[in-house]
Symmetry: C2
């Protein structure tokens, strides 16, 4: 099933990406790097990124009982030394088995359970921001709403959602009363109007921040950046680096903030994984494959915060792979 020519025996690092899905650009930054051998797994052979890995395995759904054992077998058989999970849905089951992966010689590029719980539950994220003096929109749970005192607009989203699904701007009480029932397990936030930024942060294995690259979200489609550009705004860089250092995360973080018309920064979300737009940070000069390889070898990495190409635009479009039915992996 080897798809891209590369001799595994010659590689310095064998990486396993789980739930590769449509993460083709990210995968290619790794396959293009000399010395890295890339294995991908996904529940579906219709995952386009499957066709861009050096090797691909179709695996059970991450909710299935046997999932972790299948991954562990792949790690042992293939000599994987780093597992990078790309889908939040599998983070918890992987965390529960971190020790087993490490016993198999494979590091899990994933923060602690505490950090994941802060990031995945957006009400926990709000509490984390508040407790650490980080400016964030006022946020309440449904039972805390006092309809008579509520001012609009508001923003509602699921406590545990990914992307833009079930996220709505709310302009009146009628909408609020409806969406409180319609959105699964919602939180309600003050709506902040302004310029949105996503910041790609990379932390080392000890929680030290190595790189912080803000990108302006000029246009978003389906929750993912569609047009954007890097912005070397030191205020955002410093504020985000501080947030990340308080968190003590491992590996990639994707932190969202908004700057309103009064120039206030509001931090909104922390995603404890590679964001869809991280290819821009890599293209702007932050060599993630290289940095991860060094981290894994135990080499001390000097932080390179702010060291990236400013005002680099990313313009995204849909591309396709075509396969005959009998060519599917």
């Amino acid at each position: 099933m080897q798809k891209v020519s590369m001799n595994k025996g010659m590689s310095d690092l064998i990486v396993l990406f789980s739930s590769v899905g449509r993460r083709t650009e990210l995968i290619r930054f790794f396959t293009n790097k000399d010395g890295i051998y890339v294995i991908g797994v996904d529940v579906s052979a219709l995952a386009p990124a499957a066709y861009m890995c050096h090797k691909f395995f179709k695996v059970p759904n991450f909710n299935d009982a046997g999932y972790v054992d299948v991954l562990l077998d792949i790690c042992r058989n293939e000599g994987v030394s780093l597992l990078i999970p790309l889908h939040e849905g599998e983070f918890n089951v992987l965390l529960q088995n971190r020790r087993r992966f490490e016993d198999a010689g494979c590091r899990l590029l994933l923060s602690s359970e505490e950090v994941i719980s802060i990031c995945q539950d957006k009400y926990n994220t709000f509490l984390f921001f508040q407790q650490n003096g980080v400016n964030t929109p006022a946020t309440i749970l449904p039972e805390e709403i006092e309809y008579r005192k509520t001012e609009f607009p508001l923003f509602i989203k699921p406590r545990n959602g990914m992307g833009s699904r079930y996220a709505y701007r709310i302009t009146d009480e009628r909408q609020l009363r409806f969406f409180i029932e319609y959105v699964p397990c919602p939180i309600v936030q003050e709506f902040i109007d302004g310029t949105e930024y996503t910041v790609d942060v990379l932390c080392d294995m000890e929680g030290q921040v190595i790189s912080t690259v803000p990108r302006e979200r000029i246009e978003v489609k389906d929750g993912e950046i569609s047009k954007g550009r890097t912005v070397k705004d030191w205020r955002i860089i410093k504020a985000t680096t501080e947030v990340a250092e308080k968190l003590k995360a491992i590996g990639p973080l994707t932190i969202q903030c908004i700057i309103d018309k009064n120039d206030n920064i509001f931090f909104i979300e922390i995603n404890p994984r590679f964001g869809g737009g991280v290819p821009l940070a890599i293209e702007a000069g932050v060599n993630y494959p290289d940095l991860l390889a060094k981290m894994l070898s135990g080499e001390k990495i000097n932080p390179r915060i702010g060291d990236f190409q400013d005002n680099l635009y990313i313009l995204r479009y849909i591309n396709s792979i075509y396969k005959k039915g009998d060519e599917l992996l």
Copy 2:
């Protein structure tokens, strides 16, 4: 501003695509074809497809008064013989000026005002289906709803919408009462559960159907096919060809239907333009650039209905172009 090397003087056909936006794959099928010179225009230099045309012009918004004059100037100066508009928002202003484009030696690849009105207003589409004996979900306007007699689930969408914005499945009266107010200018349809197909149809300049390629919508993102495959189902091919012939359209149509669990076909929508997934039909063997060039030269084209590669999969992913700020067109 020439971006891709091609000698315009040597070309047999000079095509202008308006609102090129993210239609990179479609554009590349044309630029890859010998003898076709491709000019693109868009309101934004952040349109990724701008960087894939032989020549690109940034133009005013299609709602601006001067838009048509700018396009006409480009047609005259560049010797454009075919204008292919890609955004429905500009269809009406172009139709009102069809004669001026033809006087400038440029054919407009767009159906008549009557056809566009049937397609763009989804209640008109329903009436067209009904009047022509084409099976379609029962569809009503808000004022026709009798809440006491209503059965669920239903589907609500804007009468004039594109893509999946403001389209909701409705499961109870509370949702119906809310979304009737929330969705702009809505229609309410019987919800049909089943396998969805999009059919790429190409008509010649006289309304004869040349090609009909059904593709199963295996996964949809943001209203556009994300995973799919061609399906040589003769029942769908014949039924869709009949619909298209009754319509008397010009150029590309994108027709949506659903086959329910009782194997009934329901026709849902007709989009009078290139669909986002038409690259699959082209890749499956229907050479749109070639067929359009022949049509324009006045050559009679024999219909080639059903002549395409069956069970060809399209697996789509997001790709990026990177540009420094000073490299933007």
